[in-house]
């Protein structure tokens, strides 16, 4: 995989021989989009940050990989932490930041030591641009993958998100312009500088498969191409795109790209695919996902906090065959308005699975 290539800070060397604005243009032109799920142009994000009036800038590397079914960042952090450090250094140089933070989720604490070693190894290069990189540990909160929540957590508060605007690129950590980039996004940057990059995605593939794992492939491959790599254990009937991305029925010819998946009502996000075998119960999986969102909701806003709790109540009834027409109507209402009125991305995405499951697998809910 390209992200496991040992670039040994050669990409960084190339970057510092250009002007920071030129580095931004290179990344912009490459077309690199954020790998954390929002798919926003990385170069553009850096440009906004650099252009913000406040001279103090911050880079945050979002290593709070928490979307169930996702483990691509873990792979990069395990096998090639140096490339991530290099990516952070290039980002910092490009936007003019002297402070960087790696927010590492608590569940990945065993990866901290190797990250520290990598930072130590390239101390001289980091000193060259006066960059300080701190590793901040999370403590078990999926919500802290959200941009504003991650900043509140680094500021040692409860990891609650807050409204945007202001956007982090204008006012972020301690009100300084901040760029928050996913691990995989940053890992791509040195390759772009070295002109050794292909726009490939890391698909985290798991589920009822014999060969689950991370597969590096471009966007737009067919579902068949991906699932075949995973060697299904049984006939696959559905794909869940993590917990937040919803589900779709298995269609071998469907293209895996953002628009095609969106059209059908789901979200490709960070290319997480959980393949569900025919023998599995969709309502049971929805119950699992509803429990997840109840557990991980920060509790700040009414629809996500109260709404998801009631969604779980109804799904429990469905799984026990005690639900009626009113319950299903309430479930649909909740799914729509939790999405429309929640404060942050967690709440907004928390019922995609309900909407898509009811759309494509309704018979499993009403029998």
């Amino acid at each position: 995989m390209q992200v496991t290539k040992k670039t040994e800070f050669k990409g960084f060397e190339k970057a510092v021989n250009l002007k920071p604005e030129e580095v931004i243009q290179v990344v912009k032109k490459s077309g690199l989009k954020g790998r954390g799920g929002a798919n926003f142009s990385t170069g553009l994000k850096w440009e906004f940050t650099r252009k913000s009036p406040n001279p103090t800038k911050v880079v945050i590397c979002n290593a709070d990989e928490g979307e169930p079914g996702t483990f691509k960042d873990k792979l990069i952090l395990t096998e090639n932490p140096s490339i991530v450090i290099e990516g952070i250094a290039i980002a910092a140089y490009a936007i003019g930041a002297k402070f960087a933070y790696i927010y590492l989720r608590a569940e990945y604490e065993y990866l901290k030591e190797n990250l520290e070693k990598a930072i130590e190894e390239y101390k001289a290069e980091l000193d060259k641009i006066e960059l300080n990189i701190d590793i901040v540990m999370g403590a078990g909160a999926y919500i802290c993958g959200d941009e504003t929540a991650i900043m509140n957590s680094i500021q040692e508060l409860r990891g609650e998100p807050h409204a945007k605007p202001p956007y982090p690129v204008e006012s972020g950590l301690c009100n300084y312009p901040t760029t928050i980039n996913n691990v995989a996004t940053l890992a791509n940057v040195p390759l772009i500088m070295l002109d050794e990059w292909d726009d490939l995605r890391l698909y985290s593939l798991s589920g009822n498969l014999d060969s689950p794992g991370v597969y590096e492939m471009p966007l737009g491959i067919t579902t068949k191409e991906l699932i075949e790599k995973g060697t299904p254990k049984e006939e696959i009937k559905a794909l869940f795109f993590g917990c937040a991305g919803g589900c779709l029925p298995y269609d071998p010819e469907m293209k895996l790209d953002v628009e095609s998946v969106n059209e059908k009502g789901a979200m490709l996000g960070s290319c997480t695919v959980i393949a569900i075998g025919k023998s599995q119960s969709i309502p049971k999986i929805c119950k699992n996902i509803a429990e997840f969102f109840v557990h991980e909701s920060c509790g700040k806003c009414t629809p996500c906090r109260e709404g998801n709790f009631r969604v779980l109540e109804i799904i429990n009834k469905i799984v026990e065959n005690k639900a009626d027409e009113d319950d299903l109507n309430a479930l649909e209402d909740l799914a729509i308005f939790i999405n429309k009125t929640s404060l942050c991305g967690l709440g907004q995405a928390s019922n995609t699975h309900i909407k898509t499951a009811l759309k494509y697998f309704r018979e499993e809910f009403t029998k």
């Binding site: 103090t56 169930p68 079914g69 999370g138 798991s206 589920g207 075998g277 699992n288």
Partner: protein, 146 residues
């Protein structure tokens, strides 16, 4: 590495979460006594310290067992038999989910996805990941922790 901390003005970063993690590791939980100590050192009001301590899943204000088993309950692990693994743990430890063994050695919990989806079912035991769990592996884990 404390250099970067001075981005926080007026000592706003008092390393609160790091302090809590260290106490959590050492004592196994965050007691009222310990948090009052943190409050005193950092001059952060005890109420704020408690707010942070109770927000995060990996902080516990109640005493837990010496070894905390966190079984991953993500959809990927679910469809690969994590419920069965839970049954085995409950049987071998003689406790139900959420409880601590009488000798205070083990607490059994579930946790959100730990990123071992390609080696499921998986669990974190004392923050070390154990993957591709089956009855034999579980027996081994329990033995090693005794």
């Amino acid at each position: 590495m404390l250099r970067g901390r001075h981005i926080f003005d007026k000592g706003a970063s008092k390393l609160l979460i790091s302090r809590l993690r260290n106490i959590q590791k050492k004592e196994g939980y965050l007691s009222e006594e310990n948090l009052k100590g943190v409050s005193k050192e950092t001059k952060i009001p005890i109420t704020r310290v408690y707010e942070v301590a109770t927000f995060y899943s990996f902080f516990n204000v109640k005493k837990k067992g010496k070894h905390v088993i966190r079984l991953c309950n993500s959809p990927a692990c679910l469809v690969n038999g994590s419920e069965n693994i839970l049954d085995i743990f409950e049987k071998l430890l003689g406790i139900k989910l959420g409880q601590t063994t009488e000798d205070g050695n083990f607490t059994l919990e579930t946790t959100s996805c730990i990123g071992c989806c390609d080696e499921s079912p998986a669990a974190l035991v004392d923050e070390k990941a154990h993957t591709n769990l089956n009855e034999d592996k579980i027996k081994e884990i329990i033995e090693k922790c005794k």
